[in-house]
Each structure stands twice: as structure tokens, then as C-alpha cells.
């Protein structure tokens, strides 16, 4: 075992240095920051556009008293509910033409009031709304509330609600921790998907450069797999650290500060530690599987062909874990916890929702055992199919492996 670890260290050090000191690594670090920056820019723009165009405007075509009552009621409700909870209003004096005026208002593209979405007409005693169906569906209730307020004349608010704040409630806590679980899982999945897939092509370099035979003659195949996995894991952790620094720094400097996320059941420090450990395990489990699969590919083209099904498999695993977030303790959640590839995701969700700590120790041991088994299995398949070492040695290559009896 010590020789396996020593040899794995030799491989890991070579791979790590080769990656870190390559120019491509710089772009690897920068890569994810582009969509983040684009996302932030696009988000700000969208927010601005939404502010500008999303607020509908209703023309109030009523007698002066009624229109004034509507205006006062609108101002009061906006104050209490917020500006975006009600459409804007513009008062228009009735010209006596009835429906013709309404049609003209809705059809006028050059109105000084801007384009109108609907017309509130009639009187407070018998208000009428003329609007497209989707507007009616969205705003009918609010406009009814508005006319009721205006009609009752109770534009003054009653006694203020006596608010008695408590730290938390069980329902709220569960909801919030579920949110933390989902966010944690999502982040874990995103990082794993971005990084674990890279190991698919990890042995292609050795095969292309014909170094694999030198390695196989000198050290166990398990060491090659293990070394490559840990080198890629170290590279991934460096990448994540850099991205985190940029993101946290960017939000702190240019945003409204870090968002207040609900506290997970095990507390933030332990949750973050478990997040780190479960990322490592998810990476090792998926990475060892992908390395084993990718090692069978004989060409870059085969690796590329394998990328899609591998990504889909990752998504399926994530779906299993994500579905189980709201099913704590149920059969499906236990399945997600026990199935090695979804286990890190499911256990991170548990860390957010369940304060028991011992279970994470067991889960980590369970996942390490499976990572070890997958590495051994992958190395065995590699020896048999690629190094042609074994009793059934037909043509090499990933797809040839499926043709074996």
C-alpha cells in the first residue's frame, strides 16, 4: 500500500505541476468568471429594464370625485403594499363618448401618458375594467381592492398591526434550512459537474504520448488513477478558492454585501467543512468513475462522444439527490444517501436540515470505500482492455469493451 501511495504521489505531483504551470490553467481560472461577470451585468440590466417597462398603467376614466378618491386610495395602498403591487394610474376626464373613448385610449400609440394597458371606467358605485385577458387575470383583484378602498372612503389606515418578532418558528426554520440544503446541493453539483468531467480525458495524454507503458511497467495502475484523481482534485480546489475570493470580493465591493442565508442545522462552520469534504468525495467518486470510463477511450473523439452521456448521468444523480431534499427519512432519501454517487449531495442536504453529526462520519467512510472500489475496478478494466492484460483481450477501446462476452 505504501508503494501505491508513493507512486500515486509521484503521478499527482507531475500532473499537478503540469496543470498549474501551464498557460491554459490561467484561462481555466478566468473561464467561470466570465459568465459570473456577464450574469451580474445582465442581471443589473434586466432589473433596470424591468423597472422601466414592467409597471402597467391604467387610465381611470371617471367623474372628478371618483377619480380623486381612486387616486387617494391608490397612494395609500402603494404606501402599504409597495409600488409594484399595484398598476400605475392616470386619470382621464370622460368625454361622454363612452366606449369610443375607452377604445381610443387603448388604441392610442402616441398618448402623452404613454401606452395604456387598461381602462377603469364607470363610477365607484359601478366600476368597469376594460383590459386584455392576461391583464385581467393579473390585476383584477388588486383593482377591485383599489375601488373598494376608494368607495368605502376608508382611505385612512386602521390601528397599526402589533408586530411581536420572535427569533424563528419551526415552519420557517424548516423552510429556510431546506433552502440552504438546495443551494448547497446546487453549488456542489455545479462545481462537481464543471470539474469532475475533466478527468474523462485525463489518460489521453499518457496514451497519446505513449507514456502509459512506462508508467504501467513501473508502478501499479491503481497509483496512476489515484495520482491523477488527486492532482485534479487539488487543481479543482485551487480553482474554487480563486473563484470564491473573486466572487466574495466582488459582492462585498460592488454588491449589497453577502446575502443572509438561513443557518444550516449543523451551523455554518461545520456546514462549510462538510461542504468541502463532500465536494472532495463527490469529485473522487464521480472522478474515479469518469477516469475509468475515459481511460477506455482510445481517442480524443471517443472522449468527446462520452461527455454527453456522462453529463446526463451526473444530472440524473443530482435529480435523485435534489428530489430527496424534502423527503428526509423517507425511502427515497435513504436511497440517495446510500447510492455512492448521490451520497455526498444527499448528505450535504442532511447537514443543512439535521443537526446529527455522527452520520457524516459514517457517510464519509462509506464514500471513501466506494471511491476506492471504483478506482480498483476502473484500474482492473483498464489493465484488461487497454493494456490487453487478461484472458479475454479483444480490440482495445471503450466501445470494444461493450462487445465482450
Amino acid at each position: 500500500m505504501s508503494e501505491t501511495i508513493r507512486a500515486a504521489w509521484v503521478i499527482a505531483r507531475r500532473d499537478f505541476a503540469a496543470i498549474i504551470f501551464s498557460k491554459a490553467f490561467f484561462f481555466f481560472l478566468l473561464g467561470p468568471l466570465f459568465p459570473v461577470a456577464l450574469g451580474l451585468a445582465a442581471g443589473g440590466l434586466t432589473q433596470q429594464v424591468t423597472r422601466e417597462i414592467a409597471q402597467p398603467v391604467v387610465a381611470v376614466v371617471m367623474a372628478e370625485d371618483d377619480a380623486e378618491a381612486i387616486k387617494v386610495a391608490h397612494a395609500t395602498l402603494v404606501e402599504q403594499l409597495g409600488e409594484r403591487r399595484l398598476p400605475g394610474i392616470e386619470t382621464v376626464a370622460p368625454d361622454g363618448s363612452g366606449q369610443a373613448q375607452i377604445d381610443a385610449l387603448l388604441g392610442d400609440q402616441q398618448s402623452e401618458m404613454g401606452k395604456l394597458d387598461a381602462v377603469l371606467s364607470g363610477s365607484l358605485a359601478a366600476p368597469a375594467l376594460t383590459a386584455p385577458p392576461n391583464f385581467v387575470q393579473r390585476w383584477q383583484g388588486q383593482l377591485s381592492l383599489l375601488t373598494d378602498y376608494a368607495r368605502s372612503g376608508r382611505v385612512e389606515t386602521g390601528p397599526p398591526l402589533d408586530v411581536r418578532a420572535v427569533a424563528d418558528s419551526s415552519g420557517q426554520q424548516q423552510q429556510q434550512q431546506r433552502l440552504t440544503a438546495q443551494l448547497g446541493q446546487g453549488l456542489l453539483f455545479l462545481l462537481t459537474m464543471l470539474l469532475a468531467g475533466m478527468v474523462l480525458s485525463n489518460l489521453v495524454e499518457e496514451k497519446t504520448n505513449k507514456i502509459i507503458e512506462i508508467l504501467a511497467a513501473a508502478i501499479p495502475i491503481d497509483s496512476i488513477f489515484l495520482g491523477k484523481l488527486f492532482a485534479m482534485l487539488a487543481m479543482a480546489l485551487i480553482g474554487i478558492s480563486v473563484w470564491m475570493v473573486f466572487i466574495v470580493g466582488g459582492i462585498t465591493l460592488f454588491g449589497d454585501g453577502l446575502p443572509q442565508l438561513p443557518t444550516p442545522a449543523v451551523g455554518w462552520p461545520l456546514f462549510l467543512l462538510l461542504g468541502f469534504l463532500y465536494f472532495a468525495m463527490a469529485y473522487l467518486l464521480l472522478g474515479s468513475l469518469f477516469l475509468g470510463i475515459g481511460a477506455l477511450a482510445t481517442t480524443v473523439r471517443e472522449v468527446q462522444t462520452l461527455s454527453m452521456p456522462v453529463t446526463m448521468a451526473q444530472v440524473l444523480v443530482f435529480f435523485l439527490a435534489a428530489y430527496s431534499v424534502t423527503k428526509t427519512g423517507e425511502m427515497i432519501e435513504w436511497a440517495a444517501v446510500l447510492f455512492p454517487l448521490s451520497s455526498p449531495f444527499a448528505m450535504l442536504a442532511r447537514a443543512a436540515q439535521d443537526g446529527n453529526i455522527w452520520q457524516h462520519g459514517l457517510a464519509l467512510v462509506w464514500q471513501i470505500v466506494w471511491a476506492f472500489l471504483i478506482i480498483r475496478f476502473g484500474a482492473g478494466i483498464f489493465r484488461r482492455n487497454v493494456m490487453k492484460s487478461g484472458p479475454t483481450t479483444k480490440k482495445a477501446g471503450f466501445f470494444a469493451a461493450f462487445g465482450r462476452s
Binding site: R14, S22, E206, K210, I211, E213, A217, I219, P220, S389
Partner: protein, 311 residues
Amino acid sequence: MSDYAIEAHGLVKNFDDVRAVDGIDLTVPKGSILGILGPNGAGKTTTLRMLLGIIDPDEGGCRLLGCERPLDAAHDVGYLPEERGLYPAMKAFDAIAFMGALRGLSIAEGRKRARVLLDDAGLGHAAEKEVRMLSKGMAQTVQLLGTIVHRPKLIVLDEPFSGLDALNQAKLERLIRSQAEAGVTVIFSTHVIAHAERLCEDVAIIAGGRIPFSGKVSEARDRLRPQVRLETRSLKGEWRSAIPSNCEPEGHFWHFTLPETGVEPLLKALVEGDAGVQSLAIERPGLHDAFVAIAGEAAAAQMDQPEGEGA
């Protein structure tokens, strides 16, 4: 402790329905230079891979430097595969140190030794160059130095002369000799008989996945009787009875195997029979002739080609 660097018994390897190696027995004494001779596809590379534990035999087994599992002896073995390979972005001295590290040498010590080896090989100026910047010959030398940097007890070279120019071939021959003089066991495969003839005391001839001969080069040559090359003025006469009956002249030239009776009766018959001897040469067979006799004409026809791939 065994006196043999390699002891292999009954090695068999099949690929699909093809039997690449068919029951090979091979023992290699420590400190010797063994040449494995055979045409392309004879099973040389497969045999070497099985000896080193890169692939498992379907049948049979072997001991490498006394170890049942070849990888247990990996720190004392150096291997140069037929398909040369180095990481292109590595510097030359790092590539050598890395290959040493695979075999248990510390990186620091490997780098130190790599610089010395490169200097000795006249490549000191290339130590800091990336492998991709080296010529093919230089890269092959770097890989060869990586094979010996950890000072192995056994060196296995698969077609080491392939792709080298005459100058580098001579350098490699010198290096093999110097390693052998230092007590290292060297095994190399080749399809160029001349290399084996110059370097080896022992050869194993491999053909069709079998080893029909393994032993001293002189033993292989002694399997054949000397060859007679004769030019006569006359083509007829009593002296013809001294020449094998199935030998026909090409013009006035005769080529035949020296009869069991030896040289003297032949000479007497030629002189007394007035054959008009213009020239006479009695040659001891070379390794090539021995190879033809042992492995057959078909196998021999594929040998002595300048470049090629093994099986």
C-alpha cells in the same frame, strides 16, 4: 538468491484467436547481455511485457530478480519500451528525474543524476530544454537515460536501436556494454541481427511465438557446418566427387556446406583432380545463417530491416 535475473516458464498469451506467445521458457543469467532476435510479429514485445508484468500471461509464470510479482522488483528494473514516450512539456532533466521517481528515486537525487548523465551523453546543453524542443535522437537518448537513472540491476530495451542514426546506434552499443561491465543484466530485442552479433554473448531466437533456440551465439553458429565458396577453372573431372552431389555451379562458382569429411579430403581432390582452383574460402556461419537455419527462411526474410515494429 537465484543466479538468474529472469526465469520464465511456459508463457502463453492469446489476443483474440491469435496465439502471440506460445509456451516460452527463458532464463537469463545475472550480468549477461541477452539479445532477443525475431522478425516483426514474432512475439518479442509481448514476451518482454509479460516478463515485466505489464500484461499478465494467460498461462505460465516468471520471476523477475527473484520476485514472483514483477512490480515488486520495479525499483531495480529499467525499461525502454518500443514506442518511445515522454511528456513534451517537461524539461529534459525533469523527464529523467521523473522516470527515476517512478522507480523509487527521490526527485532531488534524480535531477542531480540527470544532469550528470546528460553531461556524459554530451547533452548537457539540452538539460533545461523542453522535450518537445529536442530532436528525435536527443529525445530517445533522454528516455534511455531515464531508464538507467535509478541504477537498475536489470535493463530491458525493446527495439532500442530503432529510429537511431548510425552515430547514436554506436553510442547506445557503448552504453549497453558499459552497463554490462558494471554488472547490470541487459536484455534487448531487435530485428537487426548485426546488433546482437556485436553485443551479445547470449541470444534467444523467437519466431511464431516460440523460442526455438536460446543460448550462446557461438552455439547457434556451431549448429551449422562451415560454408565453402569455391571458384574453379574446370567444371568437370574426378574432383567433382568431393563436392556434394546436389551442388550446382553458378558459372564457375560453387557454394556448398563443408562435407563431414572435412577440409583435407576436399583440398586433395581439388588439387589432384586438376580443378583449377581460382579461389577458395571456408567460412564459419554467421548469426544470420544460424537464424535462417533455426527460424526458417520466412522469418529471416523479415529480419535485418532498418526500421519496423515488433509484436
